[in-house]
């Protein structure tokens, strides 16, 4: 230690003993490692400060130093362990009473706060979180899936019919192992549902847009309609139009109560992709003066 003790304390050479003590107290309050447990840099500066104070607070030593008989290194302290180095350990002085009011039953904080007894702690294992992507139809119809966990273990997951995107399945006891004789945690599996080419989900209902030909729309017809549980036959009534909505009762998503939503089929009248000369001839003969934009013009 080479620093000038007067400079360390920030006092003049002719400062009185009282001034030196005052300066020491002012700085020590800021720098004492035990009063500033989070500040690692404070320790070196405090040691320097203590050494300077040891030297200057002793009138004899100070006089010797002033005469140049000893240098500042004479006051160096042996390596000191500060109390904060032990304070966080489970020492006999450990005191957790300051936050007894934070404890609420068997929650994670109360277990942590039980400080010294931690070695014998009985702690529930951590929950393991996973994300499982499902095809649209699997999510609607439900089923079983065997999944392989990152650690190689496999897990049978029962997917309830009508599982929703973002829904979390909890598998009790399939998470991390408990500490001591604590129970294991749960596996939490978040469901992600991929979208479907044809179907869209709206609550418990399924929406589908169904293309129909001009003749099917005008004359009515029986057509096959896909539903999540397989194709069914549906009657397109005579005189249907684009936008006509038909309801297939019970063909939607099954509910936990045994009921089910509906499939809502919206018709879309589609003309042939290639121009059809026969259709053109036929329509040219159609004399009706129907103007679908009448309402717009008014």
């Amino acid at each position: 230690m080479a620093a000038d003790p007067y400079a360390v304390l920030g006092v003049k050479k002719d400062a009185s003993q009282a001034d030196i003590q005052k300066a020491y107290r002012r700085l020590a309050k800021k720098l004492h490692p035990d009063l500033n447990p989070g500040d690692k840099s404070a320790e070196e500066r405090f040691k320097e400060l203590s050494a300077a104070y040891d030297l200057l607070s002793d009138a004899n030593k100070r006089a010797q130093f002033d005469r140049g008989e000893i240098d500042a290194s004479g006051a160096e302290r042996p390596t000191q362990h500060f109390y904060r180095d032990f304070g966080e350990g489970a020492s006999s002085y450990a005191n957790d009473s300051g936050f007894a009011d934070l404890e609420g039953g068997d929650d994670i904080l109360s277990r942590l706060f039980r400080g010294a007894g931690r070695a014998h702690a009985r702690m529930r294992g951590a929950d393991a979180r996973y994300r499982l992507e499902l095809d649209f139809l699997d999510s609607v119809n439900g089923g079983e899936r065997q999944i392989t966990l990152p650690d190689g273990a496999s897990l049978d997951v029962k997917i309830p019919a009508g599982a929703r995107d973002g829904q979390i399945l909890r598998l009790r006891g399939k998470g991390g192992p408990g500490v001591g004789d604590g129970p294991p945690g749960d596996a939490l599996i978040e469901i992600a549902v991929r979208s479907h080419r044809l179907f869209a989900r709206e609550g418990d209902d399924i929406r589908l847009e169904l293309p129909v030909s001009l003749s099917e729309a005008v004359l009515g017809a029986k057509v096959r309609v896909p539903t999540p549980s397989g194709a069914v036959t549906m009657t397109v009534p005579k005189g249907s139009n684009t936008g006509t909505a038909l309801r297939l009762r019970g063909k939607g998503v099954r509910r936990a109560d045994g009921g089910a939503g509906d499939e809502l089929v919206t018709l879309k009248v589609v003309l042939p992709e290639k121009p059809d000369p026969e259709l053109e001839r036929f329509v040219a003969q159609w004399p009706a003066a129907y103007n679908p934009r009448e309402a717009m013009e008014a």
Binding site: S92, G98, P150, I189
Partner: protein
């Protein structure tokens, strides 16, 4: 360590040490009815001495010690919470 070595290292005299123990500031373990001081006791004694140098009087020393012990307890608990949080996977693994 024994009392002799302890007072030397802590740079206090034996009567002062007796006073601190009687006041409950230091709680050395006993082996065969003789106090056996640990490094924690030494660090605590040095802290008490520093507090006295700072002008903390005898009535205030136990208050400061108690608050510091609570602070350390909280820091330990917080460290535990942070370690637990850090151990959580950042994102749920995909299956």
């Amino acid at each position: 360590m024994q009392t002799r070595e302890f007072v030397l290292q802590a740079r206090i005299d034996a009567e002062e040490l007796d006073r601190w123990i009687a006041a409950g500031w230091l709680l050395p373990r006993e082996s065969d009815a003789v106090p056996d001081y640990s490094d924690v006791d030494l660090a605590r004694a040095l802290l008490i001495r520093d507090l006295q140098n700072l002008g903390v009087n005898d009535e205030s020393v136990p208050i400061v010690l108690d608050l510091l012990d609570q602070l350390h307890g909280l820091r330990r608990a917080l460290r535990g919470v942070l370690a637990t949080m850090k151990a959580q996977p950042r994102e749920s693994p995909r299956l």
